[in-house]
Symmetry: C2
C-alpha cells in the first residue's frame, strides 16, 4: 500500500490534510457508492428489496483496547471486525463502513494511517467499502467510532428474540481463545520470544491472533438466515454466559449448557493446562470471541448438519433452550446441574480493560 510512513505529525498536515490523504488512499466510489469520503454525507444506492442494517460501536482507549498490547493496525482491524460481527449476528451482508477517530496529540500521522490500514484490511477481506468518517483532535486519548451498514432479505433476519423451549443451542468455532490470547499479551509472553517447541509457539500465535484479529462469522450468519435455520442469534462479544443471558431475556426463555459439549481449541486446552486454568472457565467467561451463538428448532437439526459442510467453520451443539422458570444452568459431565451466574463484563461496574468478567458458579 503506497502510504508514506513518514513521521509527519498531525499538527503539520492538519485535519484536512489527513482527510485528503485518507481519501486518496482509501476513498473509492463504486456502483453502490455515489459519494464516499469528502462531502457532508456519504451517498449510497441501497440494493432493491433489502432491509438496511445499522450498527455502531465506540471504542475507548484503556477500555476496549490498550496500546501496550495491540498495534495501531491491530486496533483498526479489530474495530472493523467487531462491528462486522454485529451484521453477521443478524444474518446480513455488510457493505459500508464509516469511521470517526478522535486523535490525541501523542499520535502521529503514521500511526493513524496504520490504524486505517488495519481497518481497510478487514474491510477488503469482507467486501466492505469505507465511505466516510470524521477526524478530530482528542485531549483525552484515542477513541474510535465505527458504524457499519448491512443488507438482508426481508424474512431472512436473525434476531435475539425467537428462541423457543426445546430449541437446540449452538455456537460457531471455539470459545475462550480470545481471553487466552489477551492473557498471553498481558503477561508479555510474546509468541516470538517464547521458549519451547514449534507446536507451543504456534498455539500462542494462534491465540493472540484470535484476540487481535477476530473473524466475523458472516458466511455462517448468512447461511443460517438464508435457510431459516436459526430461531435466534447473537454474536459473542460479552462472553457466552452474558450473551446467552441476552438471548434468553429477549426470547423469554431459560437455557441449559452442557459443559462437555463446549468447543475448545487444542491451543486453548494447552494454554489452560500450562497455566493450571480450567478451559471451560475461559470458554464461559471469555469475551470477544465473536463467534455466533444461535438456537435451532430440533426439526432442523438434520438440515443444519447437512449444510455444516458448506461452512468453513464448525457448529457445535452446546445445550438446550428451557422454559423461563428453569433459568440459566450448566450441566456437568456427571449429570449434575448448577446455576450459571451471569456476571459478564459490564463496563460501568468494572472500569478495566477486558477480559470480560463472568463467574461460573459451581
Amino acid at each position: 500500500m503506497p502510504l508514506r510512513s513518514s513521521r509527519t505529525s498531525l499538527h503539520q498536515i492538519g485535519e484536512f490534510g489527513l482527510i485528503r490523504s485518507l481519501r486518496r488512499h482509501f476513498g473509492r466510489t463504486g456502483p453502490s457508492v455515489l459519494r464516499g469520503i469528502g462531502d457532508d454525507a456519504a451517498v449510497i444506492r441501497p440494493p432493491a428489496n433489502r432491509l438496511l442494517l445499522l450498527s455502531t460501536d465506540l471504542l475507548a482507549e484503556g477500555i476496549h483496547f490498550d496500546l501496550a498490547t495491540a498495534t495501531f493496525e491491530d486496533i483498526g482491524y479489530k474495530a472493523a471486525a467487531a462491528n462486522l460481527s454485529d451484521i453477521a449476528a443478524m444474518g446480513g451482508v455488510p457493505q459500508h463502513l464509516l469511521v470517526a477517530v478522535a486523535i490525541p496529540a501523542s499520535c502521529g500521522s503514521s500511526e493513524i494511517k496504520r490504524l486505517y490500514r488495519g481497518l481497510m484490511r478487514a474491510c477488503r477481506l469482507y467486501g466492505v467499502e469505507l465511505v466516510g468518517g470524521d477526524t478530530s483532535a482528542s485531549r483525552l486519548g484515542l477513541f474510535i467510532g465505527v458504524t457499519v451498514t448491512g443488507f438482508a432479505k426481508p424474512g431472512q433476519l436473525l434476531t435475539r428474540d425467537g428462541a423457543h423451549t426445546g430449541d437446540l443451542l449452538y455456537v460457531t468455532g471455539t470459545l475462550g481463545d480470545s481471553l487466552a490470547g489477551l492473557n498471553i499479551l498481558r503477561t508479555r509472553v510474546r509468541a516470538k520470544g517464547v521458549a519451547g517447541d514449534g507446536q507451543h509457539k504456534r498455539y500462542l500465535r494462534y491465540l493472540i491472533e484470535r484476540h487481535l484479529r477476530p473473524t466475523p462469522r458472516l458466511e455462517e450468519g448468512q447461511l443460517l438466515a438464508t435457510h431459516h435455520l436459526a430461531t435466534a442469534a447473537i454474536d459473542l462479544s460479552d462472553g457466552l454466559s452474558g450473551d446467552l443471558a441476552h438471548v434468553c431475556e429477549e426470547s423469554g426463555v431459560g437455557a441449559e449448557i452442557e459443559i462437555g459439549a463446549l468447543p475448545l481449541s487444542p491451543a486453548c486446552r494447552s494454554y489452560a493446562a500450562a497455566h493450571r486454568l480450567d478451559p471451560v472457565h475461559l470458554a464461559l467467561t471469555g469475551g470477544e470471541d465473536y463467534e455466533l451463538l444461535f438456537t435451532v428448532s430440533p426439526g432442523n437439526r438434520a438440515k443444519l448438519d447437512q449444510l455444516t459442510q458448506r461452512a468453513r467453520c464448525r457448529f457445535s451443539c452446546i445445550g438446550t433452550i428451557r422454559p423461563k422458570g428453569f433459568g440459566l444452568r450448566v450441566k456437568h459431565r456427571n449429570g449434575s446441574s448448577r446455576r450459571l451466574t451471569i456476571a459478564s463484563y459490564q463496563h460501568f461496574r468494572s472500569q478495566r480493560v477486558t477480559p470480560r468478567e463472568a463467574e461460573w458458579s459451581r
Copy 2:
C-alpha cells in the same frame, strides 16, 4: 418525560440496565424501523427509490464541548443537530440516529439520561428516530459518536463540487452568532445574571441559544434540492472562510465575498459593538453556525427569490464564484479587494475548545 432523575450511579445499574432504561424511554419501532435498540443491529425498511445518506461525527470532551459551558441536555441536543446539519447540506430528509457514548466514572445515570433527553428533543423536532447505539465506560472523559441516516431522491442531491464560475454565493440565516454565544458563555456573562435592559438580555440569550441549540437547515436544504436551485452546498461547521475553501477546492473554483453583504443579526452587531469587535470578523471566522453555504446559477436567481418566501429562513447573496486562479478574496464596501486567508479551525493544529480559528487577513 417520565425519566427517573435519581442519582443512581451507572455502577449500580450497569450497562445493560442503562440500555434497558434507554430502550424503555426512547426505543420505539415504527413502520420504517423493524428493530430499534436491543438487537445486534437496527433493522430499517428503506424507502423505495431513494438514495441513502450516511454521516457520522465523534464529539470529544474538551474539544467539541465543555461541561463548564453546556449542560448534558445541551450537549445531546447539539450532537444531534450538528449531525442533522450534514443531511441538510445534502438536501436530504433525516430519518434515523444511532448514538454511541463512552461514559467516564464521574457521570451518573441522571446525567446520561439528560444527554439522551437533549438528543431526543432534537430528534423529535426533526422527525428522526433513535434506532440504536452503544454505551461503554471511558477512562478518559465523555465521548459521543453520532451517526445519522437520511434519504434523498436521485438527482436531487446537494454536493460540494458543482459550483461554476459566475454562480452566486448564498448563505442561510445570519453568521457569527454561535461564536458570539460561545464567547458570552466563556466569560460567564450568563444571560440570567446580566445587568442591563431587557433588549440586551434577549440578545445575550439569543446568541447563547444559537451556540448551544443550532438549527439544522433541513427545510432550506430540501427546498434547494427539490427545485434544483443550488449547484453546490455545504453546512457551516468550520466557519465561512474554511467551509468556502472546501467548496472551492471540490469545485475547482475561486470565490469573492462581499463584506457588506454578510448577514449579521442585531444581537451579533450589538454584542460586537459592546466588546469593540468587528462583527464581520465573527461572521467570517466563527464556526458552528450550521447555516448552509450554497451556490446558485445566475439564471435561477429570480426563482430562488420567489421561493424564499416559503422558507422560514432568509437567504443572503454574499458574493460570487470566480475562476480558480482568482483564489478566495473579500471585497470591501469601498471596492477594494483583499485575499481571504483560510485558517479556520483545524483540530490537530490547535488543541483547543472552539471557537474555530480563522484569520481574515487585510
